[in-house]
């Protein structure tokens, strides 16, 4: 019976696939938790830097509204002639629409550049992004595949230092990152964020309890929302500054950039695991459904086969009479 056999084999294949997808789902869940813990731990640094920045700007700019601090990293350059775009994707697939969503916003941004005649330097992180742009014949400046689900600060710092150099030597007028921003466990959006020039001194701080709440509103990375986050702590303590507030602040700016970039990578790692978990959960559910359908088909076919054989026996006995 070729049909029966065929169904049995198919069912077995699907069962195997389901085993794999279920395991991947479990792995992604575990990795997601770890990545989230890392992101939460990293938050402490960000919060402190923001606090320091608030203290320092209170000391350097007494009674003046907004930041009037002049610094090369804060200045907007008009017009933007060249821009660097870093696209952060994953190394591995099987994570649903994660990579394609990022690549879509990145491509959109690249088209905008092309229309306005901005020279583009493209940098890619993750094999998926590299493969995509290779297929489309877009040359890239640099490619990284060593950022997995545990990005290290030292590795990110190397990149950040290069961007700082490039920005200060006016090779790039602007540095942007396309990645999956993590808003909550149930919501991530692909975004293109401007890293340089810095919109504010301090890196943006997330609201407390951001990892768990599913109700946090979408925070668009506008300068307004970033500016809001700097006004977290305004202390009245009179500090002694060594050497002086200004030079500390100037040291703080590059650090702020590095933390921001680091956060992008952490966000990307968390979002990737979430995307993979969801994709694998769906795959497991689909496999279960498919096994059900095939089992039914198989039972029907077997029943039909038995009925047919009985009929054959009966009609054979009938003929002998």
């Amino acid at each position: 019976m070729p049909k029966l056999r065929h169904l049995v084999l198919r069912r077995k294949a699907i069962q195997n696939i389901r085993k794999i997808t279920r395991t991947m789902e479990l792995i992604a869940t575990a990795r997601f938790k770890r990545a989230l813990d890392r992101a939460v731990e990293a938050e402490a640094y960000t919060r402190k830097i923001a606090e320091l920045a608030a203290d320092l700007s209170a000391a350097t700019l007494p009674a003046s509204a907004g930041h009037t601090l002049q610094h090369l990293l804060l200045e907007k350059r008009e017009p933007v002639r060249s821009s660097l775009l870093l696209v952060i994707c994953s190394n591995r697939g099987l994570c649903g629409g994660y990579n394609s969503a990022i690549l879509r916003v990145a491509t959109e941004r690249m088209q905008q550049y092309e229309q306005s005649g901005v020279r583009l330097y493209l940098e890619l992180s993750g094999k998926r992004a590299i493969a995509y742009f290779r297929y489309h014949g877009v040359p890239s400046e640099a490619q990284y595949t060593h950022f997995e689900d545990k990005p290290r600060f030292e590795e990110v710092e190397v990149l950040a230092n290069r961007y700082l150099d490039g920005y200060l030597t006016r090779r790039y007028d602007q540095v942007e990152v396309a990645y999956m921003k993590f808003l909550s466990a149930s919501r991530q959006t692909p975004v293109v964020e401007t890293l340089l020039p810095l919109s504010t001194i301090a890196p943006p701080v997330r609201r407390p309890g951001w990892g768990t709440s599913a109700t946090s509103p979408i925070a668009e990375p506008t300068p307004a929302s970033l500016a809001r986050s700097t006004s977290v702590v305004s202390s009245t303590i009179e500090y002694e500054f060594l050497p002086d507030p200004r030079s500390i602040l100037e040291e703080l700016l590059p650090m702020s950039l590095k933390v921001r970039l680091f956060k992008c990578f952490l966000d990307a790692a968390v979002s990737e695991q979430i995307a993979r978990r969801i994709a694998m959960k769906q795959a497991t559910d689909n496999a279960t459904e498919m096994i059900r359908v095939i089992t039914r088909q198989y039972n029907r076919a077997r029943q039909a086969h038995i009925t047919k054989e009985i009929l054959e026996v009966l009609s054979g006995a009938e003929a002998l009479k």
């Binding site: 202390s235 002694e240 680091f262």
Partner: protein, 134 residues
Amino acid sequence: MPREGLHCQVITPERIVVDERADFVALPLYDGELGVLPGRAPLVGRLGFGELRLRRGEEIKRYYVDGGFVQIKRDTVTLLTAKAVPAHELDVRALENELAQPLAPAATAEARERQQAQRERQRAMLRVAQKQQI
């Protein structure tokens, strides 16, 4: 405010390395060492690279910190640094080897400067590491 010693935190972008109480903290500022006892006036400063010491009773803990900032507020010492390594985890031999290697010729003055800074860091790291051995 009760004087129960200092609360010292060392935070790197990746995690909180140290979060404990101490009687005395010595930290490397950009131009030299700074000792902190309970009751110190609030301070914000730039860190250099070098040794961080935490003393609690008889016990002394030592770390290598690599630049960053320090904030002292209400008997809480917070160090924000890119890197903080416990002194006993530093690898003396690897550092010595690295320092024994001649510097590659630098193309620009900036690259030269960076190399020198890197060297200084390694020397400081080695100093912290060797002190441990004695």
